[in-house]
Symmetry: C2
Subunit: 190 residues, 2 copies
């Protein structure tokens, strides 16, 4: 994904050696046509699976997850991060820390939206420590559904999330891997 690397080089802001802001093209504004290209990439990389649902966690992964689900012709589920007025007994809930927000949140998926026959593709914009991903994977397991893989737009490869998922035997497809953000400079790895 050369275009994605170019956008990161030209538009992303490196805040520290841990944090990169990609507001103009990923986390706050997106070009829908470009998101469709990313969705086609994910659909192609997981095409041997019989995916029945795409799942993401609100909110900045929703655009690319929607694009992927549109290409695959399957529903998109977005896990919620807060309690709503619905009774908890209808929800599968996992508590996870959030690296970027510096707080703990509950992520939740309604029981009626995942079943034992579901083959689920997890899509997200960024993976860092993978805490939210781990929580979501527990929810998928608790529902009895099958996780067929994880498609990530930008993997911060210097943090442990991607490696953890791969070591767990999950097929992880990252469109771009960032090896380091040292000295305000983005270094990619292949």
């Amino acid at each position: 994904m050369e275009k994605l690397q170019t956008l990161i080089k030209e538009e992303a802001i490196v805040i520290s050696d841990q944090v990169i802001v990609m507001d103009t093209f990923l986390n706050h504004q997106v070009d829908p046509a470009f998101m469709m290209e990313l969705g086609e990439q994910f659909a192609s990389r997981f095409k041997e699976h019989h995916i029945t649902k795409v799942i993401t966690i609100e909110s900045s992964g929703i655009t690319v997850a929607f694009a992927t689900a549109l290409v695959l012709g399957v529903p998109l589920v977005f896990a919620r991060r807060k309690k709503t007025l619905v009774g908890d007994t209808e929800m599968l809930v996992e508590r996870v820390p959030s690296f970027t927000k510096g707080m703990v949140t509950d992520i939740m998926v309604s029981k009626q939206l995942l079943s034992e026959t579901d083959q689920v593709l997890f899509i997200d914009d960024i993976i860092a420590n993978g805490d939210a991903a781990r929580g979501l994977i527990k929810i998928i397991e608790r529902a009895g559904a099958t996780l067929v893989g994880a498609g990530i737009v930008v993997e911060k490869a210097f943090q442990s999330g991607g490696a953890y998922l791969r070591e767990s035997g999950i097929q992880v497809e990252s469109l771009v891997k960032i090896a380091s953000l040292t000295d305000g400079e983005v270094q990619f790895s292949s």
Copy 2:
């Protein structure tokens, strides 16, 4: 939008005379192809405007706003609801109450994403009291951009948000209007 009314009749859960849950087709899971139909509706209803950006507020409006932006061929901006690690001086912020969440949140848009030449279409899944919409409209005004209209999937017409926007001279296009939720029953208005 007969299909939308059917989905509401068959799948929505009326929690009280104020609250309806549309998790299976709007707020937690979506059918991407159906969202594209809604996006085409909005694109068609605002086609006389030269829209340069679609804007929504995270997170459950993102799918239909993305679909609309994809049809229109313009960027999608999603306003954020929480402080991130980026400095506030780069952000236009408005504090708004949230009816469904029972709390106050800050909504924010990066200054670099809205300019005086922008013709902005606001898209959201639901309008109730319109507090978030009012906050977002203030942000659009502060950026010097022009709001060309508001496209809403489900308007809770027994609450004041839609009427407020129309009285402010804004073109509001709601695909479905709910007149009342009394006695657990959804009544539509035309």
